[in-house]
Amino acid sequence: MKLAYWMYAGPAHMGTLRVASSFKNVHAIMHAPLGDDYFNVMRSMLERERDFTPVTTSIVDRHVLAQGSQEKVVENITRKDKEENPDLILLTPTCTSSILQEDLQNFVNRASLESNCDVILADVNHYRVNELQAADRTLEQIVRFYIERENKKKMEHQSIDMEQIIEKTEKPSVNILGIFTLGFHNQHDCRELKRLLADLNIDINLVIPEGSSVHELKNLTKAWFNIVPYREVGLMTANFLEKEHQMPFISITPMGIQQTSQFIFQIQQILENLISSNFKNKFENKQNLSETSSSKKNQKDFKFIYEDYLNKNFYKSYVQKQTQFISQAAWFSRSIDCQNLTGKKTVVFGDATHAAAMTKILTTEMGLQVVCAGTYCKHDADWFREQVLGYCDQVLITDDHTKVSDMITRLEPAAIFGTQMERHIGKRLEIPCGVISAPVHIQNFPLSYRPFLGYEGTNQIADLVYNSFTLGMEDHLLEIFNGHDTKQINSSLNENTNTSSDNKLQWSDEALKQLSGIPGFVRGKVKRNIENFALENNHSIITMEIMLAAKESVNA
């Protein structure tokens, strides 16, 4: 048992549901007790989702406890199949079902016989993995299911030889893996990535899971390579596709100027490899095979098309142009304004992707000092340590927010970059905090365009960092003149209001006690209203009775 007040990553089924409900026309059925469906609340409130969240519960109650689910799960699956006509129903186990140890796979097998849609049991263990790991696993599971089924079909219908020729899109194209619901600024990041890839003249084959259909998954292999923008979700899928379908992938997060350029150069490298060796051969082979049908023109086009992608200067000049003119961040770091940030102490904490990227940005692109970088992704601790090595004074790997709080209290940084939890820690300690990672509140689902990735992302991050600190000149002035000169005005105002009323009216002890029970921020207003009421009605002592009468009169 563990005494816990707060957690960074949610339970496993949350991750599964996030992936499932990101797909179009996929329905998740949780095997859970009443009240466990607050995922629907989170999605509907945080994402301000307009559609009903495609998640229902096959409720575990006393009867299920006594006799097992029996027909209930199967009935719920077939009912949903008829009502919503989904492509896929994902049966999602929860902590409750994992200790009930019912044979859910059996229910799935039976239900899939009776329904038109596909039915899968999400393969996640509540007690072993967290939300992010489960999301990663579920995405891979769904992708694997549809790709393997497609392969089987191909094997049946065609000769095995054909399997060796992997169908690819003509123009270089990519899949973006891991954009999904309730992700930190995922929608904006996705738009920014698409823009960047369009600039490089690369097509987007598929973005999964957000907004895609499971029937499109068989086309994943048509892309030339994969992009995994966030380490937490999508890596397993990318590994599967690399291993089974020889698709290379990029797992560099294009966050910050340097990582974005690395990202672009890696794209160039991958394309070069694919075109100049492997892929080119395959294309030529294919064309040789089918020379009779395809025109010779194709071959000429082929060279013409791909030559552009092999031009190293194109990438170099693109990166240079973007860095200098589109992203203001590089210039911003050099501008004299930013000098005041030099050497300021910060603490960074978040998921592995964002915390690592942010640590690098702060130290190498803005000249700040990261006294501590940390992550709650304990399962990815080694990668994180390796990433931030040399960019920070110490590393903190924990999912206990009190440890983070203690660390911040001890180090007294000038600013924190963390999750909503660190924002609250910062509030308590009066240290400014920029939110860079989930878990998040509703204000981290902004309506306006706020990517963290790509070149526009660098602008956003620069603003975030800069606005977190007190402005340079203000900082100096405050130091010289000992803080803001507002205290006296406030206190004299208070005195005035106090004396004006205190002279005329008395409060009974009982009433005073009641008044003190009213929350501080409205107490003044309530007090004033009651006193006005008492004056109007010629009472000199305020009793409980008058208080209540006053309340009613205000209402009326």
Partner: protein, 443 residues
């Protein structure tokens, strides 16, 4: 499936009709009661013994409160606890000692969850032993999603706490009883904010009735004395277990009254209590009248508009009764659980109100099915749907005006003067719609 869509003729009924659906509806887990109970009982500490799922729910449902150093925490069960590799008793002792050291509360409330039920952790058995060892009372409440919905969590806690109230010494009582029957004491049960509690006490004081105590009290150490000759009266419709415990185990006499929600409910509540104490209520009619007059502007606005309760917090019947009195038409009262005995007076009052307002009695749907309800909502197109947050935004996107039901649980809605608060909640979405009527966005 046959019950899925109600034909409008079904609505025209002049008798109470109860139906029961599949129970596939959205509500909060009953452990959410810790969020208001720990604030109400100031010297308590609530320990929820459950999994990450429970913790994540509390953290997300209760939002910002978690950051104010709350007096509640999770005892998060790990795989070793489930497979009994660790000793439950030792583990709980370790955590409770830590709580004692950090917070030193007057009581620790253990909230049992689905997981403790399934692995059959004997919380009731362990509590007395541990209580003796660490010297802090431990109250056990099984507020789990297997058995209960949302506000019923409070019911399980109060019913457990009722057994901890000191016993009224019968000897003195008999003497007083012989002298004056009216001096029988009255204990109210149900957790409401202190300001509202003061207001309700005040109303009864006006009629010459003193309240001997509240369950729960502001401090655990001040729990009211209970026993034979103590009258008890509930102020919330979801407290049926507590009522049963008070009657059966503590031998109290239950005053079955409508609940003091809305000026009509408040008046009926006071009148019923007065009748038990043989007091003729003074000035109640004028008081109710005055409140209605003060609400007239809002009443004009909502008269004739229709409401649909999807049901998730058991306040539905009382709220529907109040809104019908306000002149609204209620299509359906969804409710997680209907205790017809505990709510008897309220149901009777509902019937009477419908008759007086000359409207058909709405159907009461126990354990509703949200999917079927949404189909009915589509068909009926009510002016307002009172629903949980999972459905609110999607319904709004389909042109249906909604109000989150949870707000009724967390607002001050009891007594005469808080009637305005209820109307504010009901009218706000409708007014918003009116204010935006020229701003066309399509469904």
């Amino acid at each position: 499936m046959s019950q899925s869509i109600s034909s409008p003729s079904n609505l025209e009924s002049n008798k109470l009709v109860f139906e029961c659906e599949t129970g596939n509806y959205h509500t909060f887990c009953p452990i959410s009661c810790v969020s208001w109970l720990y604030q109400k009982i100031e010297d308590s500490f609530f320990l929820v013994i459950g999994t990450k799922t429970c913790g994540y729910f509390l953290q997300n449902a209760l939002g910002v409160m978690i950051f104010a150093e709350p007096r509640y925490a999770m005892a998060e069960l790990e795989e070793s606890d489930i497979s009994a590799q660790l000793n439950d008793y030792k583990e709980l002792k370790r955590l409770c000692l830590q709580i004692k050291q950090d917070r030193n509360p007057s009581v620790i409330v253990w909230i049992g969850t689905c997981t403790t039920e399934i692995i059959k952790m004997d919380l009731e058995g362990m509590a007395p032993r541990l209580e003796r060892e660490i010297g802090i009372p431990i109250v056990v409440a099984r507020a789990n999603g297997l058995d209960y919905a949302f506000t019923q969590g409070e019911d399980t806690v109060l019913s457990a706490m009722a057994q901890r109230c000191p016993e009224k010494s019968t000897k003195n009582n008999d003497l007083i009883n012989e002298e004056k029957k009216q001096n029988d004491s009255l204990v109210l049960f149900g957790s409401i904010p202190n300001t509202v509690a003061t207001e309700l006490s005040f109303e009864l004081n006006r009629q010459g009735i003193d309240i001997a105590g509240w369950l729960p009290s502001q401090h655990y150490v001040n729990l009211p004395t209970l026993g034979k000759g103590v009258y008890v009266c509930g102020i919330n419709p979801f407290l049926s277990r507590t009522a049963t415990t008070l009657m059966r185990r503590r031998k109290c006499q239950l005053i079955g009254a409508p609940f003091p929600i809305g000026p009509d409910g408040t008046r009926a509540w006071i009148e019923k209590i007065c009748s038990v104490f043989n007091i003729t209520p003074q000035g109640l009619e004028e008081r109710e009248q005055k409140i209605w007059e003060s609400l007239e502007k809002d009443l004009q606005f909502i008269r004739g508009k229709s409401v649909f309760f999807m049901g998730d917090n058991l306040l539905e019947v009382s709220l529907a009764r109040f809104l019908i009195r306000c002149g609204m038409i209620v299509y359906e009262i969804g409710i997680p659980y209907m205790d017809r005995r505990f709510q008897a007076s309220e149901l009777e009052f509902l019937e009477k109100t419908c008759f007086e307002m000359n409207v058909p009695i709405p159907r009461i749907i126990e354990k509703p099915d949200n999917y079927y309800q949404i189909q009915r909502i589509r068909e009926l197109q009510p002016d307002l749907v009172i629903t949980g947050m999972a459905h609110a935004n999607p319904l709004e996107a389909r042109g249906i005006t909604t109000k989150w039901s949870v707000e009724f649980t967390f607002s001050q809605i009891h007594g005469f003067s808080n009637a305005r608060q209820i109307l504010d909640l009901v009218t706000r979405p409708l007014k918003r719609q009116k204010n935006l009527k020229n701003f066309h966005f399509t469904k």
